[in-house]
C-alpha cells in the first residue's frame, strides 16, 4: 500500500486561486494555464500497482495536441462531435481537450460495463449515443475498439472508430479557432450504458460560471490537492474530479475507477500520501470503505488533511455518514469533512452543499406524516433520518413547489425541487420536447422531491422513478423491457424500482412481475430466466424479485404502470418507501 509506494505530495500550485475569474472558454483557460505555468505538475494518475504518471501542464498540452492532431488528421471539422469512451486517466483528459482544440465538441459516455457480458448490448448503446450526438468519431482504448469493430457496417451511423494508440505527439495541427463562450462545449451522457441516451449540452459560459460558483461556495483554494476516482463520463467525475481542480489550479490526482473498486484503501492512501484535501464520491463508496477495508490495510493511515469529503450523486444516508466517521475517526478523519451535496448534470453538477467544516446535519422526521401528508415533522424516535444536502451555492436559487399547481411551498412541506442559476444546461441534445418539459420560464424542474428548513435542502425522493445504484443511473423502463422479453412473463406487466439498502449505502434492484405460470418448477425457472436476462442486458442482479399472478401490478387509469403503488402493495418484500 501507499507507504510502500513511496508516493510524494505534489509541489505547491503556483496558480492564483482566482485564476478562473477572467476565463471565458475552456480551451482558452487551459491554454493560458499552459503559457503561464508550463512546469507546474498539474496531474497525477495513480494505478493500483502503485505506478504513477505525473504530468506537467506542458506535457499535458503536448498530449492534448497529439489528440487534436489525430482528430484533425481523420477529418474532424470545427463543430463536429466526438464521443470519448475511456476509463478515468491521462488519455481521456488529454483527448477531451484535444477535441476542443480541434474546434470539436467532446461528448463523454460510459465505458463497457464488466457486468454486461453481452457486447452486442453495449454496441447498440454506443450506436444510440453516436446517433443522438450526431457524432462523426468515437475514441476508445483497445477494449472499446475491439468491441466496436465487430459492429455491422453502418450500425454506427458512419462514425469512425479511433484508437488512443493513434495519438502521437508532434503531429501537425491547425491554428486553434477561438471558441464562442455561448457555444456548446461538452455533451454528457451520464446515464450509464442502458436505455435511450440523454445528452446534456453545456456551454463554456455555464461550465465556467459553475466552476467559479462552486470554488467560491466551498472555498476551494489552489493549494488544495484533489484526489478522485469517479468515472469522468459522470458529471461528478468530469467536474469534481477533473475540470474543477485542473482549471482552478489545484493539483489533481486521478485513480482509475476500477482500481478503486478493486482496492478501496488505495483512495485513502492516496489522500494520505498526496496530502489530499478534497475528494468527491457517492454514498456507496463511503459505505464500501467503512465495511470492506480491514485494519491491516490501513495501519498508519493519516486522513487528517482531508478537508472536504463531498458526498453526492445519490441519496446521502445517515447510517453511512456515521459509520464512515466511526471507522476512520481513529485515522484522523474529521466528521465535519463530510460535505453532503445535491445537484444534477443539467446544472453542471451539485448546486447545494452543506457548509464546509460543519458536521452533517441530520433531520429525524415522522415517517407516517411524510408518507400521508408530505410534511416533514420532526420527531425524536423511530423516524426517517435525512441528511441535509446544504444550502444553495452562490447564484443558485432553489424553490420547493407543489407538484400539481407549481405554487411555492413553505418550510418542511415536501414538493418538487426547482432551481435557477447562471449555469443551466442548453438543453438535451436533439430532444427539444424533453427540454421543454423540464425548463420552464428560466427555471429547471429537477425531477427530485425535497423540502427546505431555513436554507437547508433535504432530498426526499426522485420524482422520475429513476434507479440509482452505486451512483449509476438506470431507467426502470429498460429493466422492465428486459423482463418482458422472458417467456412466461405477462407482456407489459413488470415494474422495476430501486429499494434503499442502508447496509450497502445505495439502492438495490427490486421488481414485481406478473406471470402466466403457476407450477413451482416453472416459477423457479422463470425467476432464473428473468434474473439472467436482466443481468445480461442491464448488468444488474435483481435482489428482490416478486412473482405475482395476473392483477398483482397496479396501473393508472390510462394504463401506465404505477410503480410506487405496486411496490407499496408488498411491504413485506420491499419495505415501505421510507424504510420499514
Amino acid at each position: 500500500m501507499a507507504p510502500a509506494l513511496g508516493i510524494e505530495a505534489p509541489a505547491p500550485s503556483p496558480v492564483p486561486s482566482d485564476f478562473l475569474d477572467a476565463c471565458t472558454t475552456l480551451p482558452g483557460a487551459i491554454e493560458e494555464l499552459v503559457e503561464r505555468f508550463p512546469d507546474y505538475e498539474c496531474l497525477i494518475v495513480l494505478g493500483r500497482d502503485g505506478n504513477e504518471d505525473r504530468t506537467t501542464l506542458a506535457k499535458f498540452w503536448e498530449r492534448a495536441k497529439a489528440a487534436q492532431a489525430l482528430f484533425e488528421d481523420r477529418g474532424l471539422e470545427p463543430g463536429d462531435h466526438a464521443v470519448l469512451v475511456l476509463p478515468t486517466g491521462g488519455e481521456l483528459v488529454s483527448a477531451y481537450f484535444g477535441v476542443m482544440l480541434a474546434g470539436g465538441v467532446p461528448a463523454l459516455s460510459a465505458a463497457p460495463s464488466n457486468r454486461i457480458s453481452d457486447h452486442a448490448v453495449y454496441r447498440a448503446f454506443v450506436a444510440k449515443v453516436l446517433g443522438n450526438a450526431g457524432a462523426r468519431f468515437v475514441l476508445g482504448d483497445d477494449e472499446v475498439v475491439e468491441i466496436l469493430s465487430a459492429t455491422p457496417t453502418g450500425a454506427l451511423g458512419g462514425a469512425s472508430v479511433l484508437s488512443t494508440r493513434d495519438m502521437r505527439a508532434g503531429g501537425a495541427v491547425r491554428a486553434t479557432v477561438a471558441a464562442d463562450p455561448d457555444a456548446v462545449a461538452t455533451i454528457q451522457y451520464s446515464s450509464g450504458t442502458t436505455g435511450d441516451p440523454k445528452g446534456v449540452m453545456l456551454s463554456h459560459r455555464a461550465m465556467l460560471n459553475y466552476m467559479r460558483l462552486l470554488r467560491d461556495g466551498v472555498g476551494l483554494r489552489s493549494e488544495d490537492v484533489n484526489v478522485n476516482w469517479a468515472p469522468l463520463y459522470h458529471d461528478m467525475g468530469l467536474f469534481g474530479a477533473f475540470l474543477l481542480p485542473l482549471l482552478c489550479g489545484c493539483p489533481t490526482v486521478l485513480i482509475p475507477t476500477m482500481d478503486f473498486l478493486r482496492d478501496p484503501a488505495l483512495w485513502l492512501w492516496a489522500l494520505d500520501g498526496y496530502g489530499g484535501a478534497v475528494s468527491w464520491a457517492s454514498n456507496f463508496a463511503y459505505s464500501l470503505c467503512a465495511q470492506r477495508i480491514e485494519d491491516h490495510e490501513i495501519e498508519g493511515l493519516d486522513l487528517s488533511k482531508w478537508r472536504i469529503a463531498f458526498n453526492a450523486s445519490e441519496p446521502v444516508l445517515a447510517p453511512t455518514v456515521e459509520a464512515f466517521a466511526r471507522r476512520f475517526g481513529p485515522y484522523g478523519y474529521r466528521p465535519e469533512a463530510m460535505t453532503a451535496a445535491w445537484g444534477l448534470a443539467e446544472t453542471v453538477m451539485v448546486c447545494s452543499a452543506h457548509p464546509v467544516d460543519e458536521e452533517p446535519r441530520v433531520d429525524c422526521i415522522d415517517r407516517g406524516r411524510l408518507a400521508a401528508e408530505s410534511i416533514a415533522v420532526p420527531t425524536s424516535s423511530e423516524g426517517v433520518s435525512l441528511v441535509a444536502t446544504g444550502q444553495a451555492l452562490p447564484n443558485v436559487e432553489i424553490e420547493i413547489r407543489e407538484v400539481a399547481t407549481r405554487a411555492g411551498l413553505p418550510d418542511r412541506h415536501v414538493g418538487e425541487i426547482w432551481l435557477r442559476s447562471n449555469c443551466l444546461f442548453e438543453g438535451y441534445k436533439n430532444d427539444p420536447e424533453l427540454t421543454a418539459q423540464v425548463c420552464v420560464d428560466g427555471w429547471l424542474d429537477s425531477g427530485d422531491r425535497g423540502y427546505l428548513v431555513g436554507d437547508d435542502l433535504f432530498f426526499v425522493a426522485r420524482e422520475k422513478d429513476l434507479i440509482v445504484i452505486g451512483g449509476e443511473k438506470y431507467a426502470p423502463h429498460d429493466v422492465e423491457m428486459a423482463i418482458n422479453r422472458v417467456e412466461g412473463v405477462r407482456e407489459g406487466c413488470a415494474v422495476a424500482f430501486g429499494v434503499a439498502n442502508p447496509e450497502s449505502g445505495t439502492e438495490e434492484l427490486g421488481a414485481v412481475v406478473e406471470t402466466r405460470v403457476e407450477a413451482a418448477d416453472a416459477l423457479a425457472d422463470l425467476r432464473r430466466s428473468v434474473r439472467s436476462e436482466v443481468a445480461r442486458t442491464i448488468g444488474l442482479g435483481i435482489r428482490r424479485l416478486h412473482l405475482v399472478p395476473p392483477g398483482g401490478i397496479d396501473k393508472t387509469t390510462s394504463g401506465k404502470l404505477a410503480r410506487r403503488s405496486t411496490r407499496a402493495r408488498y411491504p413485506e418484500v420491499f419495505g415501505g418507501e421510507y424504510g420499514s
Binding site: N114, R115, S117, R531, S532, A535, G539, L540, G541, R543
Partner: protein, 80 residues
Amino acid sequence: MEAEALEREIRAFLEEKLGITGIDRNAELVSSGLVDSGNLVRLATQVERIAAIEIPDRDIDADHFDSLAMIVDYAVSKAR
C-alpha cells in the same frame, strides 16, 4: 494451488464475506443477482490473492465469474 483447495477458499470467501452459503458449484452467481457488481469486483480481487494470479479488469465479468466452477477453471488456466 490445487483446484480443490482453491475452490474451498473461494467458497469460504463467498460464505464469510458475501453471505452466500450452500451453493452448488455450477450455480449462477452473477446472472442470478447473488453477486452484485461491487461484490463481483471484490470476488475477483480475492481470487487474485488466493490464486496468486493477475486478473485484468476486462476479465471480471459473468463470462469468467458466473459460478464457482467457472472461477476455478479460470484461475487454474491463469496460473499455468
